[in-house]
């Protein structure tokens, strides 16, 4: 057991699964880098270094650099998955889903159903989400709500290195297409991570903090902001129960519902845009199935209904922060008292 960053945890998961199963291949733009250059291969290892070094051990047959051609990458990965490989395809930024979404949502996600249960599509799509790097409107989005809405896809949104490794290994061993979302600001985040391979089952939320006053469901990077807010609130005598769903599809509805049955109060924190998103999804779930326990309005803390602005000063206002989360919790906590 050693302390590792999310980057290391992801790399380790890939490395261990590629050793374990020769059918696992990595494909994408610059997953090794340097193809056809004077500097030679492995010049990149992904734009953030997650796949760096894999080509040395597994060679170009299994660490496949491609042109800039997302539709062909996702389609090739989907086609390879139904014919015997277990591809881990990289969609560098989730914002690029617009140039390849068909292969993901109409092809890979629907094969099994359209073909009457005959297809298996063990495909993992690793992709980057998140604002906070001044990467502006086309490199900062978190469209996991779009993937989550697609029947046939599974969606993972890890918040720490331990989960990242176990969930990625599960994704690779899973027989369904999985969209694995990595937050661009969290790659260097460290936690204790076992050296050996292990899996974290999908659909099992992680209760990050226990509390009886207000349930706070938070995703990805927001889990950490929620935890910060919880500290402040604890000092004020408000105890938050923080739930990190870890996967949005399948969603661990029971853990969320049981918590709200106890607290009667819910705040959902989501870095993504507010309309038809995960925050509305979870709020609607609770407004239906835990209504009788609800003591206060279900509040959502999300980004505004705007593209992600470039200026750091504006981007800071765009992203939900511990203060806004705390304010929402206070309002919900104080409601009706």
């Amino acid at each position: 057991m050693t302390v590792k960053t999310i980057r290391q945890a992801l790399h380790e998961a890939l490395e261990q699964e590629m050793r374990r199963d020769p059918r696992v291949v990595v494909i994408g733009e610059d997953v090794s880098g340097g193809a056809g250059t004077g500097g030679g291969r492995d010049a990149a290892g992904g734009v953030l270094g997650v796949t760096k070094g894999l080509i040395k051990e597994f060679g170009e047959a299994r660490v496949i650099d491609t042109p800039i051609t997302e539709s062909a990458i996702m389609g090739a990965a989907a086609g390879a998955a139904v014919t015997g490989l277990r591809p881990v395809a990289e969609l560098m930024f989730s914002d690029f889903l617009g140039v390849c979404f068909d292969q993901i949502f109409n092809q890979a996600a629907k094969f099994r159903y359209m073909f009457g249960g005959k297809a298996r599509t063990p495909l993992v799509i690793r992709t980057m989400i998140g604002a906070g790097r001044s990467a502006a409107a086309q490199h900062s989005q978190s469209p996991y709500h779009i993937f989550t809405s697609v029947p046939g896809l599974k969606v993972v949104v890890p918040s720490n290195a331990y989960d990242a490794k176990g969930l990625l290994i599960q994704a690779i061993r899973d027989d369904d297409p999985v969209v694995f979302c990595e937050h661009k600001l969290m790659y260097d985040l460290k936690t204790e991570v076992p050296d050996e391979a292990y899996v974290i089952p999908f659909g099992e939320a992680n209760v990050v903090r226990d509390g009886d006053d207000v349930t706070v469901v938070a995703l990805a990077r927001m889990v950490h902001y929620a935890a910060e807010a919880a500290e402040t609130l604890a000092a004020e005598g408000i105890e938050c129960e923080i739930i990190d769903p870890r996967t949005t599809s399948p969603l661990d509805e029971d853990t969320i519902l049981e918590s709200v049955e106890r607290t009667g109060r819910l705040v959902v924190v989501d870095e993504a845009t507010p309309r038809c998103g995960m925050a509305t999804d979870i709020a609607a779930l609770v407004a239906d199935r835990a209504f009788q326990f609800l003591k206060a309005p279900v509040r959502r803390v999300t980004a505004p209904h705007t593209p992600v602005p470039f200026a750091p000063s504006l981007e800071k206002l765009y992203i939900p922060d511990p203060e806004r989360i705390a304010a929402a919790v206070r309002a919900v906590y104080g409601y009706g008292r």
Binding site: G79, T83, Q103, Q107, K154
Partner: protein, 338 residues
């Protein structure tokens, strides 16, 4: 893998006899099966027995069969919305196909896919596709599997003239070239994409020429001539199996029905279809070629037709008799596990 025993003695020369008697009879059987299948589907559709949309392949048989004659059970193909012919040529069960079109539980896809999503992975049929240009990237993937696992198989995408203009198709060709994959892209140019002429929608002189620019061998053959298609396919498949990378074949063909059953075909010239059926029927052409060359005689060919007629008859009867899917089927097969 192609069963070599099906090859005729090479010293006979000339591509007509690259296939021996058995192979020729099989090709005729498959082409005839497709033609009768589609004629019957048209019939059942107009009677309201088949729900949804059907896009018929009649007229293009030589393309699917000319190519698939070179493919073995472990080779893959991906098809289009006009997928019945490709499916039959790749060995999909005709009864299961008919039942699928009828939306029945015994259908090849348990009634969940229908005409536009017929697939049979066990037969190497990766699926018809409701998305124009959806298939070529998938074929790159099947070819990637073949190369990575060293299976020696090839993957073939059938795409139309309309689909040749789709970005996904262009990307697939480039990626197949970059990775030097055993992928073959067939462009069935039947002159129309829905109600628009290929001469309008394909900006370049032709599809093969445009494809050649991508850096892969591209030829254009007549889809009226089974043997021309077969010979081009044979070369492309051999090249792919030998590690020679991807190829393109543009098949100049024609469809005898509308874009979909029920299409008023206002975009057709006067008597156009009549003319096509007279002059460009690949089945007639095949019959003439093999009988004139003395490879097969009319009686043999007629016998096969009779056989096939019975097969289709039984398929429809079984499809009609089959049960509709159980209600629970609505919710199953979304995930392997969830």
């Amino acid at each position: 893998m192609l069963d070599q025993s099906r090859r005729g003695p090479t010293n006979e020369g000339g591509y007509v006899v690259q296939l021996n008697r058995e192979a020729l009879i099989q090709a005729w059987r498959v082409m005839t099966t497709i033609r009768r299948f589609e004629e019957r589907v048209q019939d059942e559709f107009s009677k309201g027995h088949i729900p949804g949309f059907v896009h018929l392949y009649a007229g293009q048989e030589a393309s699917a069969v000319g190519v698939c004659t070179e493919l073995g059970p472990h080779d893959y193909i991906a098809s289009t919305h006009r997928g019945h012919g490709h499916s039959i040529a790749k060995g999909c069960d005709v009864t299961g196909m008919m039942a699928e079109l009828f939306g029945k539980q015994d259908g090849l896809c348990a009634g969940k896919g229908g005409s536009m999503h017929i697939a049979d992975l066990d037969r190497g049929m990766l699926g018809a596709n409701g998305i124009v240009g959806g298939g070529p990237p998938l074929v790159v993937g099947a070819a990637l599997t073949a190369k990575t696992l060293g299976t020696g198989t090839v993957a073939v995408s059938f795409t139309g003239d309309g689909g040749s203009n789709q970005g996904t198709t262009f990307e697939a060709m480039n990626l197949a070239v970059v990775l030097q994959l055993p992928a073959i892209f067939i462009f069935e140019n039947n002159g129309y994409g829905e109600y628009t002429g290929a001469s309008y929608a394909v900006g370049s002189r032709d599809i093969a020429g445009r494809a050649a620019g991508f850096g892969l061998p591209a030829v254009k053959v007549s889809g009226d001539d089974f043997f021309a298609v077969h010979e081009a396919a044979r070369e492309a498949v051999e090249r792919a199996r030998a590690g020679g990378g991807p190829s393109v074949i543009e098949v100049d063909t024609c469809r005898f029905y509308g874009h979909h059953s029920g299409d008023a075909q206002l975009y057709r010239g006067k008597d156009e279809v009549k003319g096509l059926r007279e002059d460009r029927d690949c089945l007639k052409h095949f019959r003439r070629r093999v009988t004139e060359a003395g490879l097969l005689d009319h009686a043999e060919l007629d016998a096969v037709e009779a056989e096939v007629a019975g097969l289709i008859e039984r398929a429809v009867a079984m499809a009609q008799a089959a049960d509709i899917p159980a209600p629970e089927a609505l919710l199953t097969d979304v995930y392997v596990s969830y």
